[in-house]
Symmetry: C2
Subunit: 368 residues, 2 copies
C-alpha cells in the first residue's frame, strides 16, 4: 500500500482547521492535533492520523463526542483531582488534568487524578510524557470498549486498557512504556484491516476457544461479542495469561472506581437497540516527583544506566539489537522529523474527502 | 511428596522462637513470621515456610542478612519516604515503611516510599494488603537477583520483579494482583525442584535461544548466567514479549532509581571472586487513598462490580470457573484456616533440623 509523506506543518495546519470547523475551540483543536500527530511522530500509526476521521470527526458528527469540552472539577484536594469531562474531547480534558497534577506534584511530590464521562484520549503516552517533560514520572491508563476476555473466558469484557509509564532518563529520550495490556489492541487490528493484512494467529479467542486471522471479521465479530482479544500471556494460565488478565483488570478498576464511573459492558457506545450513545470512558493519571525522593538527577542516571545495560546485554543468536521502551519511538521520530508523516492510501482518501466536504483550500502531495 | 498439616499456631510459635534465636528482636520476628505465614495462608507455597531456612536463616548465618534492622530515614516529606535498611530484614523495613505511608496517605491522599540496601521482603502482596486493610490502594514492587532476559536477549539481567496491586472491594476479599512480571519466578522453580518436578517448557531461554525443563539445572545455569527466565508474553515480540519485558523494566527502574540504589548485575549477592556479599535490594511502595477521590464506598462497589461481572462472563468450553485476582488466595485460606499449613517433606526435614540444632522443645505432627 503506497505511503506518501506529508509535511508535519501541513498536517498540523489542516487538522487544526478541520477540528475547528467541526466546532472545537481553537486552543482545544491545537491540543487534539498535537496528540494525534505525536502518535505518528512516534511511529504508532494505529493511534494517529489513521483515527482522525473515524474516531474523532465521525463521532462528533454522530453526536457521541462533543466538540466543546465542559470540564467540571467534581473534587479537588492538594494532591488529587476528579473531573467530569461531560462527553467532550478526552484529549482536552486530559491535557488540563495533567497540567493540574504536575503543579500539585511540584508542590506535594505526588498527585493523582481521574476523569469520567470522557472519550478516547489518544495515546496514553502523551499524558505520561507531559509529566516526564516536567521532570516527573507519569503513569496513566484508560478503559475502552469491551474487547478483551478474562482467563478461561471467551466474552469481550474489558478494554485493551493500556498501563503506561514514562520516566525521565539521562539519555536523549525517556523510558516510555506505552501499550495495551492485551497482546494487541483494536487500533492495531483496524490498522491491519486498512492495509488489507491478516491479524497474526493466537492474538484473539473465538467462542469455541480457537483463534482467527481475518482482520475485518475480527473487528465485526468483536463488536457482536463473538470474538475477543487476549491479554499478554495468552490463553489459559500455563504461560502467564492470568498475569496479563490481572493487568487489564487493574486498569479497568482504576479507570472507573476512583470516580465511580461506568465500566466494561457499559462502555460499548451502543444502546440495547443498537443506536449510538455516549462512550463515558474513564482515565486515571498519577504523577510522581523524583525531587521528593533522592532527586531528578539521581533518578535519571539510574534509569538511564539500567536502559544502557539492558541494551548492551548478550543478544540471542540472530538478534542484532536489544531495545528499551521508548527507543523505537525515538528512532521513528529521528527518521521522520525531516521527511514528514507517512500517509497510507486509505487515509489519503479520507483527507481529500474531508477537505472537499468542508470546501477547504489544501493541496496534498499525494495528489501530485 | 507427602504433605503434613501443621497448625498455624505451632508454626507461628516455632518460627518466632527460631527467628529470635537467630538474633532478630522479638517484635521484628513477629513481623517476619507473619509475612512468611501469610504467603502460605494464601497458598503461595514458593514464598512461605519453604523459604524460612534457605532465604532467611541461612543468609543470617552467612552474614548476607543482618538480624537487626537499622532503619535510617534518609529523606522524608509529607508524602514521601526514602529509607536505608542497612542490609537488615527487608520485611521489617517494609512494615515500618508501609505504616508511615498509610499515615501520610490518610492526611495527603497519596504517598510513596522507597527502601534501599534491603533484603528479600517476602510476598509483595503483604505490603499492598496493609494499604488495602486501611481502605487504600497499595502498589509495590522490588528488584531481585538477575534472572530475566530482555526481549531479543539471552542474559539474565533483571529480577523477576513483581508489580503488585491490592485494591479494596465490597466483597469478602480484595482485588489482589501479586505476581512476578516474569512468566514464573525463581521461587516457583525452587519449589518445582524441591518437589522433584520439571519446569514446564517455554518459560526459560537458554543461550542458544532454546528452552529447558530440568528445574535443578535451570537454577544452576541461571546462577552461572547460562540461562534466563522470560517476561510475560514470552520470546520475541509477536506475542507481546516486549510488553512483559517493559513491565519488568519498570519495576527495575522504580526499585532503584528513586533512591539511586544499585540494580541488575549489582544484585547478584556475589563478589567477582564468588564470595558472598550483601544483596542491597530496593523496593518501592505507593499508597492511594480513595477518600481523596470519590470515596472508599464508591471505589469498593465499582471494583467489586467489575470482579463479579468478570466471573459471571461466558466461559470457554471446558472451563468451569473464571477467577479474579486474589480469589484463589482467598479460597486457599478458606480451605486451610482450620487445617493448618501443609508442609512438604523437604521442609519437614529442615524444620526438624533447625529445632535440633537450636535444642528447642517442639514436636511436629509429621514426626508422629
Amino acid at each position: 500500500m503506497g505511503y506518501v509523506n506529508v509535511s508535519w506543518e501541513l498536517m498540523e495546519r489542516f487538522m487544526n482547521e478541520v477540528f475547528c470547523r467541526y466546532g472545537i475551540p481553537e486552543e482545544d483543536a491545537k491540543i487534539c492535533t498535537d496528540v494525534l500527530l505525536e502518535s505518528d511522530r512516534r511511529g504508532i500509526e494505529s493511534h494517529g492520523v489513521n483515527r482522525f476521521k473515524p474516531i474523532y470527526l465521525d463521532r462528533i458528527k454522530n453526536g457521541t463526542l462533543l466538540p466543546t469540552t465542559k470540564m467540571d472539577i467534581v473534587k479537588e484536594t492538594p494532591t488529587t483531582v476528579v473531573m467530569d469531562a461531560n462527553n467532550g474531547m478526552g484529549m482536552v480534558a486530559s491535557y488540563h488534568m495533567m497540567n493540574m497534577l504536575i503543579e500539585k506534584a511540584k508542590q506535594y511530590g505526588m498527585a493523582g487524578g481521574t476523569i469520567f464521562n470522557s472519550t478516547h484520549y489518544g495515546i496514553a503516552g502523551y499524558w505520561t510524557t507531559m509529566a516526564e517533560k516536567a521532570g516527573m514520572i507519569g503513569i496513566s491508563g484508560t478503559n475502552a470498549r469491551p474487547s478483551v476476555a478474562p482467563t478461561f473466558g471467551v466474552e469481550p469484557m474489558m478494554g485493551t486498557n493500556p498501563l503506561t509509564f514514562t520516566m525521565p532518563t539521562d539519555e536523549e529520550f525517556p523510558f516510555n512504556f506505552d501499550c495495551a495490556t492485551s497482546i494487541v489492541q483494536n487500533g492495531r487490528i483496524e490498522y491491519y484491516e486498512r492495509l488489507g493484512k491478516e491479524t497474526p494467529a493466537g492474538l484473539v479467542v473465538t467462542k469455541d476457544g480457537g483463534t482467527m486471522t481475518d482482520s475485518g471479521k475480527i473487528l465485526k465479530d468483536m463488536r457482536a461479542g463473538d470474538c475477543a482479544l487476549l491479554s499478554i500471556g495468552g490463553l489459559g494460565e500455563a504461560t502467564g495469561g492470568y498475569k496479563g488478565y490481572g493487568f487489564t483488570t487493574i486498569v479497568e478498576i482504576l479507570s472507573a472506581a476512583l470516580a465511580g464511573g461506568p465500566y466494561m459492558k457499559e462502555l460499548t457506545g451502543k444502546n440495547p437497540d443498537g443506536s449510538n450513545r455516549m462512550y463515558r470512558l474513564g482515565h486515571f493519571f498519577f504523577v510522581i516527583n523524583p525531587e521528593f525522593f533522592m532527586g531528578l538527577d539521581t533518578f535519571k542516571k539510574t534509569a538511564g544506566g539500567i536502559c544502557r545495560d539492558l541494551r548492551a546485554s548478550k543478544k540471542a543468536p540472530g538478534a542484532d539489537r536489544i531495545y528499551t521502551a521508548g527507543e523505537k519511538e525515538h528512532d521513528a521520530w529521528m527518521s521522520r522529523k525531516d521527511t514528514g508523516v507517512p500517509i497510507n492510501e486509505s487515509v489519503q482518501k479520507e483527507f481529500a474527502q474531508i477537505r472537499d466536504e468542508l470546501g477547504l483550500d489544501y493541496k496534498f502531495p499525494f495528489e501530485d
